[in-house]
């Protein structure tokens, strides 16, 4: 057990050290205010990353999530602002469309037997194109429901605020962890990522699980789109470009093995927090330019991939397929 938890512990330790160093330099970073904003600012990324964790655990990849966030945002904005729908109805519509979208990608991946990245690439083009065809402008959303949601806050001691979308992200992580580690679907996902042939021989319903995984990823991406819409109070077809890369980075930094079959949903949470920490640190510092974010994230990604390699090369000698 301790050995299989090693990458998770490594991530947690690195986060603790990084946060400790940041706090030593800027003592104000250790406050509920900063921590509350951490959760709110990264909520849409965190929710997306939970879905991505499942996809990567199953041995696949989903490049379409950023585009799904953009599409959901514009769809909701148009339904509310132009068609006069109630936001909740618009949310339900967006989630249903995303479920169908993800399910279709899962079907294509399973039945056409093609790599996931090319299918989800097509999905990315389709969702981004669809969003841009609806409208090319940014559409503001002014609805009392939106202002009501953003007025709901839990005030933490020390001036911090825990927003609805921050709580929603934590809830998604907890439910995601339960599904991954405590349900039949979760074990199917792990089995699929470990070895598809063995999984199917052991009686894992491969088709159903593959479709389920991509459906889950798209639905969570749509939920992230809803959160993004609440966060920005607007829809824009080019919103959340490149979020898929951040989500994949968070999952990898969180210790999930990229070949699938190994990882923890909780690790992804730490991964998201670590990415958030990098961004917050750069904002606090003020003299560092924003492009350092990308370089640091790339560096972290490299560090953790090499770390995984070393740990798994040490624990499973022999059997190293190309």
């Amino acid at each position: 057990m301790s050995r299989s938890l090693r990458p998770l512990v490594a991530t947690a330790v690195i986060f603790a050290i990084a946060y400790g160093l940041a706090v030593m330099q800027f003592p104000t970073m250790f406050s509920t205010r900063v921590l509350g904003n951490f959760l709110t600012d990264n909520a849409f990324l965190g929710i997306t990353a939970v879905g991505m964790t499942f996809v990567i655990l199953s041995g696949g990849i989903d490049l379409s999530v950023g585009a799904v966030i953009g599409f959901t945002g514009i769809l909701i904005a148009v339904l509310i602002a132009w068609a006069g729908w109630h936001p909740l109805a618009a949310f339900a519509m967006a989630l249903a469309i995303a479920a169908a979208f993800g399910g279709t990608m899962g079907l294509a991946i399973h039945f056409l037997q093609v790599p996931a990245f090319i299918v989800t690439l097509a999905g990315m083009f389709l969702a981004r194109g669809g969003a841009s065809v609806i409208t090319r402008d940014s559409i503001p959303v002014n609805h009392e429901f939106y202002s009501w949601i953003s007025s709901l806050l839990i005030r933490l001691p020390g001036g911090g605020r825990l927003s609805v979308i921050g709580i929603l992200m934590i809830a998604v992580f907890i439910i995601g962890a339960l599904v991954a580690h405590r349900t039949k679907f979760g074990s199917y996902v792990y089995a699929l990522g470990g070895n598809e042939t063995s999984a199917s021989l052991m009686g894992v319903p491969v088709a159903r699980t593959t479709v389920g995984v991509y459906m889950l990823s798209s639905v969570l991406a749509a939920l992230a789109g809803i959160v993004f819409s609440l966060y920005t109070s607007a829809g824009y077809p080019l919103a959340a470009v490149g979020v898929e890369l951040d989500a994949i980075s968070a999952v990898v930094i969180g210790g999930t093995l990229l070949t699938g079959g190994y990882g923890f949903v909780l690790g992804t949470f730490i991964g998201v927090m670590l990415l958030g920490l990098v961004q917050t640190y750069i904002i606090f510092d003020g003299s560092l330019s924003s492009w350092w974010t990308k370089i640091v994230i790339g560096g972290l990604l490299f560090l953790f991939i090499v770390l995984q390699r070393l740990i798994f090369a040490a624990s499973t000698p022999g059997e190293k397929s190309s």
Partner: protein, 332 residues
Amino acid sequence: MMRRALSRLANPQLLALAGVLLINWILFPNFFRITWQDGRLFGSLIDVLNRGAPVAILAIGMAGVIATKGVDLSVGAIMAVAGAVAATLVVAGYPAPVAVLAALAVGLLCGLWNGFLVAVLDIQPIIATLVLMVAGRGIAQLITEGFIITFNDPVLVFIGTGSFLGFPMAAVIALVLMVLVTLLVRRTAIGLFIEAVGVNRAAASLAGIRSRMLLFLVYGLSGLCAAVAGIIVAGDIRGADANNAGLWLELDAILAVVIGGTSLLGGRFSVPLAVVGALIIQAMNTGILVSGFPPEFNLIVKAALILLVLIIQSPLATRIVPVRVAAPEARK
């Protein structure tokens, strides 16, 4: 011999290109009109060649990578880095040839870094190249210090916008690269070795192929091609834009290679057909633009195109319609 050459011409990719051009011609009757002006050719067809050249150049490098069952997501970011290096050096007063060589060297270095991750550290290609895809644009911005560096260097501008015998320079460079790389992989055994590594790397190594060396070669070539494309794009706009140069072009390049019939499962590739794939994509782009549709339409058409190619390539289709080349069984 003659018949063989003819049957080679009648492959699906060239037919598709002809089909797209025909649709463009129906939508826009002046599509095939080419005029001679100021010592160079003008017209929509020439525009397709010119605008398609960067993706075609990326596809030349990408074809080899995909043939080894890999993929290179970092080419767009490498374009930005190479453009930034070339622009910064000419602005700092270095002669253009030095700037071009330095940009090419940086591209090669980036490619070799990817090759190192894939060949030595044994990391999945999609993730190995993701590192540079994320960090590369940051590095490019570091080089340009966040500004869009503009220049007026005649040599760089000529590479981006000049013409040779009436044809746009970018298209000429793409053609030369295509011929050179095709000769390299098809007149020597290197192409076969690359395909062997793609089918089964362990078996290829056991058969005496230095697969590590080959992986360095294909990723290095891909980085080099990306640098060439980056210099062309920078020369075209007379500036290095670290944020937008080559943005999402890696996806177009992969699409071009896949349309060109290279299997994503490795083991089969064609450099000239990948270039034809790039031209098909660009012909569609131009067609959508000249016929007055919004450019966003493009993304949907591309998605449909990917799906079509995947269905044709899939084992399901080969079971229904037997084709000459059997698709490999495994998927990852």
